[in-house]
Point group: C2
């Protein structure tokens, strides 16, 4: 345990068992959100939603199509493959868990941004622990009331 090694942030991200970069995850999650109703999205909307320029989206769609996560054809609509849907859904769920967690902790500033940043960095195991803890706190509402008082003192 003592012999864990340090790596730079960049290295951890690269090492990450998942083969998806943080950006790839961002795009997948957003496609999933945008496609919930219609079933698809487009370069333009995706770029706008992520605050990115359209060419960045096009480039990423090619990459995601290559690894079989999205269905994409020039000038066409963007949809998620089955695998892509699965991942997109999991990413969105992860997002929601973290968001709720941060809110419980009393984070009020830029919750969305904080969520977006954290969600890419944690392992499944950590997410599991967080999820568990959120469930625990929801199960014991008195704790949170107590915590609110504690915050006020601090």
């Amino acid at each position: 345990m003592e012999n864990e090694e340090f790596f730079t942030f960049r290295e951890y991200m690269a090492k990450d068992d998942n083969l998806l970069t943080a950006s790839m995850q961002d795009y997948l999650e957003m496609i999933f959100r945008l496609a919930v109703h219609s079933g698809y999205t487009r370069t333009h909307d995706l770029a706008a939603a992520l605050n990115v320029q359209p060419p960045s989206t096009t480039k990423m769609m090619k990459r995601l199509a290559e690894v079989g996560l999205v269905n994409y054809e020039k000038y066409g609509v963007i949809t998620l493959s089955e695998k892509g849907k699965e991942i997109g859904k999991a990413l969105l769920e992860r997002h929601l868990i973290i968001e709720e967690f941060l809110q419980l902790l009393g984070v009020t500033e830029n919750v969305l941004q904080e969520t977006e940043k954290i969600e890419h960095t944690i392992s499944d195991h950590t997410l599991q622990c967080i999820d568990n803890f959120v469930a625990f706190l929801k199960n014991r509402p008195k704790i949170m009331i107590d915590f609110k008082g504690f915050q006020r003192e601090a």
Copy 2:
């Protein structure tokens, strides 16, 4: 509140008010750790500690020297400037807070790695909330005992 916008992870990191990239922070924190006793460190040791090749370190030292956070001269020792020390210390404290927090949550796998990843992503405000929550939990040891039981059920 509803109108928060999404950005890709990369953009959040770049936007980050702090002008320090994640890598810069990694180096600063590690220099601070390594220099605690002797007051300095060297390219070789720093590279080894971060699991990086020496040229990467040299390159980064030049950058950090440019922005006045480290004192660095070719073939010489590496020390932190006053400002660098201040930041390095804060980074290390942040690290320790998050590490403790994760342990409380029951994270047992790769705690170091998870800490390293998270520490670069959260804002001061979020860190503050976490710190606060850790203090709260330490103040109410029964809660953690209760949580341990809850975990076992799950």
